[in-house]
């Protein structure tokens, strides 16, 4: 039996897969050249400068927004009459009932990310249901919140 297995394996191994065309090789070559960083503009050399410039811009924008907000806040201060606002007693609601339902688990397979080890991407789709009952009038509030969790599991390809 094992002899037959080996015979067939040998027969199969004698078949030589058709070689890729020269055109394919040329296409890969040019695509790889395109992905090479250009001299003088390579990201690794320039990234500290880009990071510094971005940080400076962010600080500038932040400073402007703080100044504007404080000015607007000063000019818009109004007295709010206490009677117009009736807070709902926080203890009038029953403790909420929460439920988590898994709708779908999707395996997106192995994902290659630049400069990192390959990972397996798994997506889980949930619906979280939150139910709250008002003790005063018995009204029930139900909220359904769709949620998706994405999990990356590192894998090792030997």
């Amino acid at each position: 039996m094992k002899h037959l297995d080996e015979e067939i394996e040998k027969e199969l191994a004698r078949l030589k897969p058709v070689a890729p065309s020269d055109a394919l090789q040329a296409k890969i070559e040019s695509a790889l050249e395109e992905t090479q960083p250009k001299d003088g503009l390579s990201f690794p050399r320039f990234w500290p400068m880009i990071a510094l410039a971005t940080a400076a811009c962010l600080i500038f924008v932040f400073a402007i927004s703080i100044t504007r907000t404080s000015k607007e806040a000063n000019s818009n201060i109004k007295e709010t009459p206490a009677e117009s606002f009736q807070p709902v007693a926080s203890n009038s609601f029953e403790p909420p009932k929460a439920e988590q339902r898994l709708l779908e688990a999707i395996d997106d397979g192995i994902v290659f990310t630049e400069g990192r080890e390959p990972v397996r991407k798994l997506r889980y789709k949930f619906v979280d249901t939150l139910t709250v009952v008002d003790k005063n009038d018995g009204s029930v509030f139900t909220m359904e919140i769709p949620r998706e969790e994405i999990l990356f599991v590192p894998i090792t390809l030997l």
């Binding site: 199969l12 078949l15 897969p17 890729p20 090789q25 890969i28 070559e29 790889l32 390809l157």
Partner: protein, 167 residues
């Protein structure tokens, strides 16, 4: 740059034919299989090109993932167009032709093409990819036992198909 080019070309010469075979087995169309090999090669090279940790199984895993992505995105219309084009081209041979053993090769090739997708996958990875069951199991996301038993089952199936004529 020249050394870099020589390096990837070395891998391409060595593994290109079996990677293309694997991609063709995944997609069924030569032109799409070539796109998949190209994309997979670039993915692996961009990620691991600078390191010395490039392995065959990385390329096979990349081909499989890329083929799955392609299958999700390609429209039915495009598949039909491809099929018609490929059939017209008569470009259906997966293996090189040798006149003296052409009949045997044709028989084997037919038997391989009649295998299920899972069986084809495992036989390509094992015979022409020359991967271990451990590597195959990681690529196909199955257990080691499943990979090994699927391979043996496939060999049994092939034996039934071709033994009377070959042995």
């Amino acid at each position: 740059m020249a050394a870099e080019s020589a390096r990837w070309q070395h891998y391409f010469q060595e593994w290109g034919p079996s990677l293309l075979l694997f991609a063709r087995q995944q997609t069924g169309f030569l032109s799409e299989a070539e796109d998949i090999v190209q994309e997979a090669f670039i993915k692996v090279w961009k990620t691991y090109g600078q390191s010395s940790s490039i392995t065959k199984s990385l390329f096979y895993a990349a081909v499989r993932t890329t083929a799955i992505d392609h299958a999700r995105s390609i429209s039915r219309r495009k598949i039909r167009e491809h099929k018609v084009f490929e059939e017209r081209k008569g470009d259906l041979e997966l293996f090189e032709r040798h006149l003296e053993i052409q009949e045997r090769n044709t028989l084997l090739e037919k038997a391989i093409q009649q295998l299920s997708r899972n069986q084809q996958e495992i036989v390509v990875l094992k015979i022409w990819g020359e991967l271990t069951f451990q590597e195959i199991a990681a690529i196909l996301d199955v257990s080691l036992n499943t990979a090994a038993s699927r391979y043996r089952y496939t060999l049994d199936h092939l034996k039934k198909e071709i033994t009377p004529s070959l042995i």
